[in-house]
Symmetry: C2
């Protein structure tokens, strides 16, 4: 049988059949009332997911395009920016700001740790920043940052908070307005369960004030252009229409499950995955308190290359896990459990990781990790 | 999240995306060269799966329609027929022969047992039969019958052997010509991985001799009509074109995996499933030697209703198992592992059955059944 490939990578994630069906419908024209109606519906739904009353612009670009649109729009050459770096995507955010001429103070918290809020407070007191750049869920290091607490600091200091929520929105609780997030960026291919190709950006009134003073060149990624067209629920350039349609179906699924249920499901799957790995003596990368509910990083056992584990489960069982990036390459593997993944997927994948580890010589009793995950997923009802 | 439903019932079975994609293509006309080319291709592929050089007619009907076409074509009122009954589908075969006026001797072997070949031999010596009706894989009781040995008897006695291979073809070894099968009937929605709607019937020259003397009325299910149209690779009545196209894609998958590999995979999955259930102290319905490689029947634990187990895993995890039929209702559950099911599906499903049983109060250590299945699936490589 041609092997089934199962995506347990942190984006693109599996696309639900409901979304695939929606995207397979005949295309609608993008300069039509149908499209305007679609964009209007998407706005309302995205506002719920992001926890904002601000407009949410949808760009035909990947998440990085959304991050660039934000940075290019609100920062000018010489602007002082504090970048909180907890992994590869924090680094990318800092790099983007540098490309657009900002004076970036990048604070590294060490791969596997969340941003230390006290340290952030100290740094903000020491320097006068125009903006803080933060990553909500850092997929490269599988940690979640405390955006709420960081938002309290930036709000107090009158500093813009720009948050990369690419891999969190729709999977991890987010209240952009309540938490004082000025710019929120997300994308289609993570917890939102749509193929890659769309970035979403919401901007607070304060952020728009900064945009008005913007001098950086931008055209395709111009949020001004996006805002102008948004007034008629349209886009300045040709949008990826079928992805918009898919996003509509995916958001319907998320909202009909209920955001709180969606968040709880991701938390439970994260706990189950970490419990499974720990039961085998394997160590999660992130501290339990700040471990991501949507992706779990795991240190390979001593003397074993994490990529050998990944190759084994992919070759034999079609399970695609993510590897470590940069300094973590070969040392960790990452299991995504975001989006359209259910308990049966999770249990089957964990049973396969047991087989893969054992094949590579790691001593374990088959069924151990599965049992640990079962206990988390159904523990309450089983009395275990 | 809208629950994913996973079919572990013995048909319809999960449809591979390759097949679904093929069926979604624009329809072709059924009185065209395109359709004739398709039917010609299907014939060659079905001949390989059935192990025959005879023509294979494709009827737009379910498997029962194919069984009726065969029985109505070769039997006349008063003809003596020996029906080997090892479950519900054996009963149906006997019933069909009675409907068409045959004098049917039905031998019941008890639900859960295969046909006893010695007993068949005795009965054949005692009575002069025109045909023997046998079920290859009896899904209701999850046993496989020894068609090869039965074929040796019928060939020796010059009796027609009519075999219901509805749930076996493409999943269990079948060599119709070598084994002396005169009429072989199968259907699309079992191991062939296509939605329901097609029945396939192949007939030996001896069977055609009987058809020539046929007096029973038939029109839609006439194999004569099918044969006449087959000469131009066409059908007498409108065929389910998209299912033909899907069958083409499914047979390509099966033949490119290789029939021997397909059979070995099903055997391994049957063994893994039975080992998993036995590890929990649950008893398979069929004796190990004649247990079906494509579907496993399991007795519910003492004092537990099998349908409660089915309801639990369906409600909580979207796993659809089959129940027992007629006298086995509530007493067994059946797990299909035929067609487009892989090891990850199997392991996830088994882990969920553990949870379901435990929830209903059956004492077990989580992970036990999963470990037993893992050991069968990967045992050789794991040294367990």
């Amino acid at each position: 049988m041609p092997q089934k490939t199962r995506l347990f990578i942190p984006g693109p994630t599996p696309v639900p059949p409901q979304v695939a069906e929606a995207m397979a419908r005949p295309l609608i024209g993008h300069r039509t009332q149908d499209f305007a109606g679609l964009y209007a519906r998407l706005t309302k739904k995205l506002q719920q997911v992001c926890g904002t009353v601000n407009e949410v612009y949808i760009l035909t670009a990947s998440g990085t395009g959304g991050m660039e649109a934000a940075v290019a729009s609100i920062l000018n050459p010489g602007d002082k920016v504090l970048a909180l770096v907890t992994g590869k995507f924090g680094e990318r955010f800092a790099e983007l700001a540098k490309v657009y001429g900002a004076a970036v103070d990048a604070v590294e918290f060490g791969w596997g740790n969340p941003a230390d809020v006290n340290l952030v407070e100290d740094r903000m007191k020491a320097g006068k920043y125009k903006a803080v750049l933060a990553t909500h869920n850092e997929t490269s290091t599988t940690v979640v940052n405390d955006i709420k607490s960081i938002g309290e600091l930036t709000r107090k200091e009158g500093v813009l908070l720009v948050v990369d929520a690419v891999s969190s929105a729709g999977g991890i609780e987010m209240h952009a307005d309540d938490w004082g997030v000025d710019v929120l960026i997300t994308a289609s291919q993570k917890a939102l369960m749509v193929p890659p190709g769309l970035a979403m950006v919401s901007m607070s009134p304060q952020a728009w004030e900064a945009v008005k003073k913007g001098r950086n060149p931008r055209y395709y990624l111009s949020l001004y252009a996006a805002k102008r067209s948004f007034a008629r629920y349209n886009t300045p350039y040709t949008p990826a229409v079928s992805l918009f349609v898919g996003l509509d179906a995916a958001l319907d699924m998320i909202l009909s499950e209920g955001l709180d249920n969606v968040y709880r499901r991701h938390i439970a799957f994260g706990k189950a995955t970490r419990a499974a790995m720990k039961s085998l003596g394997l160590k999660p990368l992130a501290p339990e308190e700040w471990a991501s509910p949507v992706v779990t990083g795991v240190w390979a056992p001593e003397g074993m290359n994490a990529d050998d584990i990944r190759r084994s489960v992919l070759k034999d069982y079609g399970i695609l896990l993510a590897g470590g990036q940069e300094q973590l390459k070969g040392r960790i593997f990452r299991i995504s459990h975001m989006g359209y993944i259910d308990a049966v997927d999770l249990l089957g994948m964990i049973a396969v990781i047991e087989i893969g580890l054992k094949k590579l010589g790691y001593p374990l009793a088959l069924g151990t990790a599965t049992a640990a995950a079962q206990a988390v997923l159904a523990g309450g009802e089983l009395g275990v």
